[in-house]
Symmetry: C2
Subunit: 402 residues, 2 copies
């Protein structure tokens, strides 16, 4: 036993990638609270609060609303596994990496996959959906509200009406939208929706909030077969999160402390104020990036407030720039996934990470790195453009530099 393991000492990063974002210090502190048992009265109270607060952020009165004990992908799998029985027609609308992941899961659960591919960076149009619904028997239509791989925000209201008109269920991935931009589960008629703790909710990764509406619950009750996944069987997990409090699995106690604290912060700020903050910071960031002559990747008019994508300028080495941001400035941003690998940068402003300070810091750091990598850009233009946006929002006149 000569080897020794050093004290844990992770770098204090500024997390501006596709997630995780920086948790609020209160959230980190909550995790070091004393651990109690998973049926302790103190923990049952944490569960009740968490459920209520999740209903608030999902804007739903759905009783089946709780965090899955896994990361966002476990939420995706829970939503799909519970609604798919072998042979069911499942339409997945794919306009990015995470739609592709849904297809992979649909096949594992024996669903009849109908996959429609839309170019990455663009939204799904009603016609893309209706054409397929007319021609096929579809039980579930699945899509991504906020594509983390492309930075596109998908409108949901029209698709929801269309899907329900054909008697299908709408399943929505809200991993990168919940708590950062409007997501009206009940008003928009979303039947199944899930998210991750580590993005706009401002909690570390490890939990996946999920909600099922009345139509999805009926589908659960009408199943001919057991869900082909025990850990994620929502009917069993619901017996633990519901009034029965029947033991299913040992809940991740400390992670649930963190999520409750993160949700409490969302509630204190208020959803509307939180959305406005995310919107303003994204506008300032985008103005800065445009002023630096970078080209947005996501379709205009459908850009996320929580994640901004721009093309890597010609002649610039993607990995080198991200590496320098990380090592010289402690800033993490994301690169592209799949077909956009090496082509785009993904800059997240989520939860506690969505702040004026981070926007100004990032634009300043990016200017320094890009300029020293030989990308000619107007000096100071990024920060100035962002400041212009902030001052306008505050009704302050900005004196132009001479």
């Amino acid at each position: 036993m000569t080897k020794t393991y050093a004290e844990l000492n992770p770098s204090p990063r500024v997390l501006l990638g596709p997630g995780p974002s920086n948790p609020h210090p209160r959230v980190l502190r909550a995790m070091s609270s004393p651990v109690v048992g998973h049926l302790d009265p103190d923990f049952l109270k944490v569960m009740s609060d968490t459920k209520e607060l999740l209903q608030y952020v999902f804007q739903t009165s759905n009783d089946l609303t709780f965090p899955i004990s896994g990361t966002g992908s476990a939420g995706m799998e829970a939503a799909l596994a519970n609604l798919i029985e072998p042979g069911d027609g499942i339409l997945v609308l794919v306009n990015g990496f995470f739609g592709g992941r849904m297809c992979e899961m649909v096949e594992r659960y024996g669903g009849e996959l109908i996959r429609v591919d839309i170019p990455w960076g663009r939204i799904i149009e009603l016609d893309d959906v209706e054409r397929v619904l007319k021609a096929n028997k579809v039980k579930v239509v699945a899509l991504v509200h906020a594509e983390t791989s492309t930075g596109v925000l998908q409108p949901l209201e029209g698709i929801s009406r269309l899907v329900h008109g054909y008697g299908a269920l709408l399943l929505v991935d809200a991993v990168t939208s919940l708590g950062g931009c409007p997501l009206k589960t009940d008003e928009w008629g979303l039947d199944a929706c899930y998210s991750g703790s580590q993005k706009c909710l401002g909690c570390p990764p490890g939990l996946a909030p999920i909600t099922f509406g009345p139509r999805a619950i009926s589908a659960l009750k009408d199943r001919r077969n057991k869900v082909a996944n025990w850990y994620l069987d929502l009917s069993l997990v619901q017996l633990y999160w519901g009034p029965e409090r029947t033991y299913h699995h040992t809940a991740p106690i400390s992670m649930n402390y963190a999520l409750r604290e993160a949700l409490r912060i969302v509630y204190e700020e208020g959803l509307e104020a939180r959305f406005k903050r995310h919107q303003l910071n994204q506008q300032a960031l985008l103005a800065g990036l445009l002023a630096m002559e970078l080209q947005p990747f996501a379709q205009e008019g459908h850009r996320l407030w929580t994640l901004t994508t721009v093309r890597v300028p010609e002649g610039i080495d993607d990995a080198r720039v991200r590496g320098r941001l990380l090592t010289e400035f402690m800033i993490e941003i994301g690169g592209g996934l799949g077909p956009t690998k090496g082509q785009i940068w993904r800059i997240g402003l989520m939860g506690y990470s969505s702040s004026k300070n981070n926007v100004l810091l990032f634009l300043g750091a990016l200017e320094q790195v890009l300029a020293s990598e030989g990308f000619g850009l107007p000096a100071g233009a990024g920060v100035a453009a962002a400041n212009q946006v902030y001052c306008e929002a505050r009704g302050i006149a900005m004196t132009a530099g001479v």
Copy 2:
């Protein structure tokens, strides 16, 4: 928005139930370290250390050794889902609650379940296994090393030889043994083994360490179908934990910090010293319980060092006693599960919770509660008997009270 949510304030419990146990303060502190990205160089180092330290506690050189991003039940499901294809003969030896859970999962993955029930509280004998192996085509034999529901420690070496003699794989649940009593993955020839973070490793719940040996890896490679579970597909997760570092899902960063710190503490103490500590504290506890005239539940000679079970004395209300321990002394112990509900108490001494202090405190508190509940017992006998064990172990003569 009139409702307010109070500051998180869970009670500082003494966790002597079937898990979670109390994490070491260093482990709680580790969780409030800065969050970094799941592909950050700092996190990759945490992963490398964690893998090495898990190999140390599993006593294995298996390359596929890492924590599943879910609780112990997710570990169980990962082990089963990856080794079962529809129609495979799966023998589950059930001598407690968690064997029953395995059966439930086997059916969901389409395995041909062969279930053998052994009375709860007793070990599985070689004859129970051989009889079935002779008569059936069996791919996997699954059993529980340390049954949390009964307090029984299952010997594994003989069964391992037998199972391999019939060309089957041995799958072992070590949720309540790993880090608390000997578990020699390689020496005993265990093919698949999983555990939970929240018991003898002294970490909060949320991760499930798992290890697959060469025969299990071959079975993975020989699969005709994809694993019917995307999140727990070990071949995909291994690409993230292996040298490829291919993104699969966002790892629960803070939980991995906690696990690394918990494992570092195990490593500093040393496995042998740790096992001896668990053994001594259990001997002292059991001596105390016997002196208080309580009757053990688990088969003599096969009692766990990590969890002790005793029968609830006649005329004593199980829930009332546990409730008083919790509210008057902040001590959690467990009641029975399934057929032993209301019949037994389960007293865990796991990880950091396995200490002389907790043994003496618990025996003192139990005496006070039982005496005031009308159970006549020799005054002071429990603590005195425990002290006798400790003094003998230290080679100190104890003067008997007059």
